[in-house]
């Protein structure tokens, strides 16, 4: 069979990649080892979270699936950091592990030019350093012009519980044994990474009276810019807070050598940002307790996920650990926690388009690139699908800049800094987070999705209306004057003595004035999201302007191209560490070079002077 694009793996990255490819009108195949596991959530049941919730909105803005599928598949949703400022707010939903994959599959089935094939890919066909197709374990050959690998944790996966290990993927699936050897033989540098997942407990065996409830927000939310909330806020499922105690810690400390990670049975590197419980107890020895959550996994089967308790202890120790927790003394463990190791490539070997530097037309996305998390995977899948399509059409790739999207931050970090542990997005990784907000993702990115063909006319129209509304409300605020005799009680409560008439816009600049104090004075009503976005723009004008100035500076350096043919051996006076890093990353611009760790300001000066001396402005020698 011959396809334009083949996607290997149907996890969160694979689904988005296949969707983006098909939507660009390309004949696409999605090959998965098990159709039942499409868009599976083998770990945490949540979608979104800090920074990640903003990524889900960015995916939606570009025309991807995750946001709108999550909106019709969740058990609970809330806005995190709602008490903090606008730039760190982010949605997090508890996804239903049955409904989410079902709804995702339904979306994919709508695509007439997408074939979903059940097979295990074990070999690649490569000719003249260009990908030509794949061979499956049943020895069938599929030919393609571009390939997207989204293999998740399945490359030589190994599951570890205590001192026992099995060479299989999540749910006892077959792991891909030969594919990573093939990649290695092509010149890919592989690294061994690790992640873990905690126990699943029987909901009927928990003493809820001793746990603290965590409810969803009373305000209804959606990730998607196109959907209205359809769920009943009162019927959201609850989560529960659980705490570890001195006894739990003692059990862990006494059994440390039995843990796969501490007993030396594992070689992979786990994420610092999502440590196992034994890691937490060892590294933060003076902390008296650690916080855990009990989260429902689905409305269709009874199962609670014990978030924060991931471990690679043997099962008898896990029994003791779980039963030491207050309220969980009699909890029945349905599934034990495990650690999983897998192969990932070195992301420094790929371009910002997610195309490999080694094999042309081969793209990678998700955990194979060293990231962790469904959202990180999904956004890369979307970008890989978009860029593979653009390449086949002879167009320039979509490379989002760090000031445009968290997706841009994620990919730039991967291809510039590489990663030695599973990479997770954090708001602190974004230097321009004041402008990378959940409320403006569509304003930032929807035009791109529209140009590529992932955003419909109707969706685009909605964007234009939003822009118009923002403009109108801003004008309205500017033109509406409030006089001392007209002020309402809300304004009076924060400004007791208003001595002269003032425009709503000027008033809104004061930290203590909220936009809803002013709505009654305005000419007309606007959609809720418009109030929020205009309020942020006006109230934090100074801060946003500052960020924009920083962006300008970065873009100036971003426009200083480094020629492809540069030989760093010839650049005199570079520190040797810098030389080596520059050689391996091969940054495209001076701005990217400044972000490489180990490349110091002095090295950048030397590089800039060298470029000035030996290259003309257009990058010619």
């Amino acid at each position: 069979m011959k396809y334009d694009i083949i996607v290997v793996g149907a996890g969160h990255a694979g689904c988005e990649a296949a969707y983006a490819s098909s939507k660009q009108g390309l004949k696409t195949a999605l090959i998965t080892a098990n159709i039942k596991n499409i868009a599976d959530m083998p770990c945490n049941p949540s979608i979104g979270g800090t920074a990640k919730g903003i990524v889900v909105r960015e995916i939606d803005a570009l025309g991807g699936l995750m946001g709108r599928v999550a909106d019709i598949s969740h058990l609970q949703i809330k806005m995190l950091n709602s008490g903090k400022g606008p730039a760190v707010k982010s949605l997090r939903a508890q996804g239903d592990k049955i409904k989410y994959p079902e709804n995702m599959l339904a979306e994919l089935n709508k695509l007439s030019n997408l074939d979903i094939i059940e097979a295990l890919v074990e070999d690649l066909i490569v000719d003249s350093a260009t990908i030509k197709g794949v061979i499956t374990s049943d020895e069938k050959t599929y030919i393609c012009d571009a390939l997207i690998l989204t293999t998740g944790t399945y490359l030589k996966s190994k599951i570890l519980i205590g001192d026992t290990s099995k060479n299989e993927g999540p749910h006892g699936e077959t792991s891909a044994k030969h594919l990573s050897d093939r990649l290695a033989s092509l010149g890919f540098e592989l690294q061994r990474l690790k992640t873990g997942t905690p126990q699943r407990l029987d909901p009927k065996t928990i003493d809820y009276s001793r746990l603290q409830e965590e409810k969803g927000d009373e305000t209804p939310w959606t990730f998607s810019f196109d959907l209205e909330p359809t769920y009943d806020v009162a019927k959201q499922h609850k989560c529960y807070l659980v705490y570890t105690n001195a006894k739990t810690h003692e059990i862990i400390r006494n059994n440390l050598t039995k843990s796969a990670m501490y007993g030396g049975y594992a070689e992979g590197i786990g994420p610092r940002y999502c440590p196992s419980i034994e890691d937490k107890v060892v590294r933060f020895a003076d902390k008296e307790r650690h916080q855990l959550f009990l989260e429902p996994e689905s409305a269709f089967y009874p199962d609670l996920y014990l978030q924060g308790f991931s471990t690679s202890m043997p099962i008898d120790v896990q029994e003791q650990m779980v039963h030491s927790l207050e309220g969980l003394e009699n909890a029945k463990i349905l599934k034990y926690a495990y650690a999983i190791e897998y192969d990932a490539i070195n992301p420094l070997q790929m371009n910002a388009s997610l195309e490999s530097k080694i094999v042309a037309n081969l793209y990678t996305a998700g955990q194979i690139n060293g990231t962790s998390g469904y959202e990180e995977a999904a956004c890369q899948g979307l970008i890989a699908g978009i860029n593979a399509g653009l390449k086949l059409k002879g167009k320039d790739p979509l490379i989002l800049k760090r000031n445009e999207a968290y997706i841009g931050v994620l990919i730039d970090d991967l291809v510039t800094k590489g990663t030695k542990e599973p990479y997770r997005l954090l708001t602190s990784r974004a230097e321009y987070r004041l402008i990378l907000r959940h409320d403006n993702a569509d304003l930032r990115l929807r035009e791109y999705g529209y140009k590529i063909g992932l955003i419909s006319e109707e969706q685009h129209e909605r964007l234009l209306t939003k822009r118009k509304n923002i403009e109108c409300l801003t004008e309205d605020l500017k033109n509406t004057k409030i006089h001392p005799q007209d002020i309402n009680d809300e304004i009076k409560s924060v400004i007791p003595n208003l001595n002269f008439g003032i425009s709503c816009l000027e008033l809104l600049k004061r930290p203590e004035i909220k936009i809803h104090y002013l709505i009654q004075y305005l000419k007309k009503e606007y959609p809720k999201d418009i109030y929020e976005i205009v309020e942020i723009a006006i109230k934090y004008e100074g801060y946003i302007a500052k960020t924009n100035r920083e962006v300008e500076k970065m873009l100036k350096l971003e426009s200083k191209q480094i020629p492809e043919d540069i030989d760093y051996e010839k650049v005199q006076n570079l520190a040797s560490e810098a030389r080596q890093k520059l050689q391996s990353v091969r940054p495209k611009t001076i701005a990217q070079a400044t972000r490489i760790s180990g490349v110091n300001p002095a090295d950048i000066s030397i590089l800039t002077i060298y470029l000035k001396k030996y290259y003309s402005k257009d990058g010619k020698k």
Binding site: T50, A87, L434, K546, Q572
Partner: protein, 451 residues
């Protein structure tokens, strides 16, 4: 890979000995080719070797050659220092020979630049080296040495560390909002920690004023009518310090009569042309210039005659330098007092006599106490010494103040975090860890050749 460079490191023409220095991968080999004595390529590192510099069998000079192999050298490269006899012709001849053999003449500040680029010193240390070389007083040297050792860097690093700690705590709050056992960075906590940084930076800026005094000295202008005794005062001050009087004729400050040290600090004594109304054009130019000097001086010593009433002109002049630090010295205290003191606005008045002489020690003590010179000596010398550093600390301080104001106004903490980032970067620029385009070129162009 790295180029070989050389330069004359001592000032030309003065002193019995000159040093020609070379740094780079091949300098030991090249100098060895010009050297008659031990085989320099095989001598131990950090040794001094006696021999002769020869050119085609002609002996140029009898020399001592110091061999220092990488990496324990100033530039972290192989360094050779040729100690030759002072005098322009010999020194130049040796330099020429090195250049002939392929060692390039160093650019301004290039040795220090190499030290910086090879990771031996950071930017504040590089600037410290520059100061050390031009240090004239003992105190100045101590202070420059301190910076060369990185004391200022440490202070900057410590304050950056406080800022990063706040940032890290904020990041935990932003990225892990549901971890309730973490410290909640409230506006109050941020305010408290930022106040510490603010105080530290303000203190650093306050002491940087002392730094300027240590480095540049105090400009003291002595004025008064002819014959009032100002020359005597000048001479008394200079006489006692004959040994360290330097003649700076030919410099732009051609009115500097001499320099003395007082409590370890340099006083630049400036004589001014007579100041009085005149119709003579040439003289008027001189008068205007004098007025300008007075206004820019750190201290004016105004000499008056005890035996004469103060004139209208003198009062006008005093009024025109109202904002300048002043000491009024009333000379000729042995004669009957005819001076109308109530007209003079000045807190520090000293009576004395330049003939006996008396009052001159009082004058010096007054200068010491006015500028707290005795205290400077006791302090730690972590001063910022140039406009670049001071501007950056100021910029950082401004952002910290913005952050403090924001915290008071209840501005969202992620906005305040932006101010902190800028404050952090500005401090980083002082020690050269934030990238800025022309920073290096600008900095190193200020160095003199061969340091």
């Amino acid at each position: 890979m790295n180029e070989n460079i050389c330069a004359i490191s001592t000032s030309l023409g003065v002193g019995a000995i000159s040093i020609v220095r070379a740094s780079g991968p091949d300098v030991i080999n090249i100098v060895n080719g010009l050297f008659k004595g031990a085989d320099l390529t095989s001598v131990a590192t950090h040794t001094i070797n006696y021999g002769h510099i020869v050119d085609n069998n002609e002996i140029i000079d009898e020399v001592l050659v110091t061999i220092m192999r990488a990496p324990k050298t100033f530039t972290k490269e192989d360094v050779v220092e040729i100690n030759c006899h002072g005098g322009i012709s010999t020194t130049n001849k040796i330099l020429e020979l090195l250049i002939q053999k392929g060692i390039r003449l160093a650019g301004a500040g290039e040795f220090t630049k190499k030290a910086y680029l090879n990771g031996r010193i950071d930017l504040t240390q590089a600037e410290g080296v520059n100061d050390l070389i031009s240090a004239e007083t003992d105190l100045e040297r101590k202070y420059a040495m301190n910076r060369t050792l990185g004391n200022l860097s440490k202070l900057i690093i410590d304050n950056r560390q406080i800022i990063v700690n706040i940032q890290a705590k904020l990041a935990v709050n932003f990225d892990y909002p549901e971890e309730m056992d973490n410290i909640d960075m409230t506006h109050e906590l941020v305010l408290k920690e930022l106040s510490t940084v603010k105080n530290n930076l303000e203190e650093l800026l306050a002491t940087s004023q002392d730094g300027k005094i240590i480095k540049n000295g105090i400009d003291v202008a002595i004025i008064g009518k002819p014959n009032v005794g100002k020359s005597s005062i000048l001479n008394h001050l200079l006489d006692e310090n004959k040994a360290i009087v330097t003649d700076i004729a030919g410099t732009t400050r051609d009115i500097v009569e001499g320099t003395i040290t007082l409590a370890g600090i340099k006083l630049n004594l400036i004589d001014t042309a007579g100041i009085r109304s005149t119709n003579d054009v040439v003289e008027q130019i001189g008068v205007n210039k004098s007025l300008e000097i007075l206004q820019n001086a750190d201290l004016v010593i105004y000499v008056l005659n005890n035996n004469e009433p103060v004139t209208k002109e003198e009062l006008e002049l005093l009024a025109s330098i109202k904002n300048v630090q002043k000491i009024v010295f009333i000379n000729k205290n042995d004669l009957p007092s005819k001076i109308n003191l109530d007209l003079i606005e000045c807190n520090t008045i000293i009576y004395g006599n330049t003939i006996t002489p008396n009052g001159l020690q009082d004058l010096k003590n007054q200068i010491i106490s006015l500028f707290k010179l005795d205290l400077i000596k006791e302090k730690n010398y972590n001063f910022l010494s140039n406009a670049r550093q001071i501007a950056l600390v100021n910029a950082s301080l401004e952002r910290i103040k913005d952050g403090i104001q924001g915290a008071k106004d209840g501005i969202p903490l992620e906005m305040i975090a932006e101010d902190l980032k800028e404050a952090y970067d500005a401090l980083g620029e002082i020690i050269g860890v934030t990238y800025k385009d022309e920073l290096l070129d600008e900095l190193f162009s200020k160095f003199c050749l061969g340091k």
